[in-house]
Symmetry: C2
Subunit: 344 residues, 2 copies
Amino acid sequence: MSMIHPVILCGGSGTRLWPRSRKTLPKPFLPLVGEQTLFEATLARCADPEIFAAPIVVTGAAHLPHVEAQSTAFPGTSIIVEPEAKNTAPAIALAAARLPEDAVMLVCPSDHYIADIAAFRAAAQAAAALAADDNMVAFGITPTAPETGFGYIKRGDALGAGFAVERFVEKPDLDRAIEFLADGSYSWNGGIFAFRAGALLAELAAHRPDMAATVARAVERGSQNGQQFHPDAAAFGAIEGDSIDYAVMENTSRAAMVPVAMGWSDIGNWNALRDAREADAAGNTVHGPAELVDCSGVLVESDGPRVSAIGLTDVAIVVDGEEVLVTSMLGTQKVGKLGGASNQ
Amino acid sequence: MSMIHPVILCGGSGTRLWPRSRKTLPKPFLPLVGEQTLFEATLARCADPEIFAAPIVVTGAAHLPHVEAQSTAFPGTSIIVEPEAKNTAPAIALAAARLPEDAVMLVCPSDHYIADIAAFRAAAQAAAALAADDNMVAFGITPTAPETGFGYIKRGDALGAGFAVERFVEKPDLDRAIEFLADGSYSWNGGIFAFRAGALLAELAAHRPDMAATVARAVERGSQNGQQFHPDAAAFGAIEGDSIDYAVMENTSRAAMVPVAMGWSDIGNWNALRDAREADAAGNTVHGPAELVDCSGVLVESDGPRVSAIGLTDVAIVVDGEEVLVTSMLGTQKVGKLGGASNQ
């Protein structure tokens, strides 16, 4: 089988893990779980030369210094520098247009955590096989809880090593999420996709012809600078942004999925981060100097000051520069709406 | 009636309100409630020239700079500088020995909060009248909750504007504290006392003759320096320290009390401080930059960094220098035992 081309999307505004994650240093570039940053871990997952070609990173100018600094251990990495953020469909199309038609690409967000790398790689190969036959393939992550924060994929008939997609489902309410979990035929849509480059561009041309044409023009008029490719800013700026889900996956007749259970988390808030980290016997997880007394389920993250905590259950305490966040785990969903997070 | 001589005791190690209160800057010298520090508020309460003579402050060398800096608005203040801390009985005896025999002294801790100054002054006058007749008079603070952290005073027969003391009771367990509250004849011992100076020294000589003699010697060999009096260190160092409660109040046959309800708090922990402060409609009280979402009963105290809090009930968040404390209100009693508080 031919090599899989990892396409790593590096954007993000840095509000949900504020104040540790900031606009200028968002989630992918922080060592939130283990020693590596999430971006470094994403590169490392795709660094098996038996399976993967060198990665393409798609990012904006603001994050370019972090991308360059954190990809030095992966020498073949090329970078597409988006003139502005236009959501995932144009970013993916840029990478597709830079690859040979028959290259199979694996689109990976750079800010997710995956515990089981072997399961990820096996699913990548299964997805790549389906993609080579011109299917538009999504990873369908086996749900472990009735999450209301993710879109779901309902699988249909078996197809190769996976399934056809019966339909994509928007974020459900809790009752429906509970049904989905019980049903067993629904998976989370984690934003990981496999496409043959030419097939993706053909589908995009069918469903979003303006976007496809404009991306083609931005690439044609773009410029190469060492490992970096800069699409033409004027052309790219004219694109109406959209997600790959809306632009392609929900319109194509060739949507497929591969089911995978790989200890996945989007680290979408402090609660998710606590759950992804290794905890002590009381369920506490501490980064930085801290003393915990009568605490359970407490996450501490401090960039310097000592945190002393007494008598707390399921609370996150985050100290970063001149900001201190203290939130119940239930409250972590509201972090992005805090004044500090939204007025960075 | 002759003037009352305020004797203000300024000690304290600064562990229970750590990290705001430190060994080098303990509770009396912090503006914890309102604009004034607790020490300044204590001086101000006793600053009515119709009732009070100029105050005597008894403190240690470590706190002398704070005492001097915060008493400039009270020009007649004299200071007794204790060579070392020997608990309350020797401190009070020092002041008594420096006053005329017939002076009535009112002993006031410097780290309590009192909301109702008029009630305090009325009780001071009632206590002074009893003290002029050689009674050893304690303020009996009308209890508002079954507190287990205070000693109690059970009142006996009516005596002048107050009552004889039937007995002093050590800190009770919760069941007894509930009984005391229901009984109605028990008051909190808040450490505020009135004595005729000569009578106090006579009682001390009767019950602690060594201490009385040693204090007399330390004063005799002491030295005056402007507004400051320095007892002889060698003599004072030989004293076996004790509280005025153990040395005098529990031994004398002339213990009396005046009941008083004056919005008193010893600000003994962060929970007590929250209760003493004015709160918003949700019961939150904030010093410093903060944003609170879905919080109730939350105290925030920050010396600079912004505190953002979500979804918390009855929690104290204190940011001071390189220390961040987050504790449930129930946990506030354990603050003094934290590593940070005990290894200052």
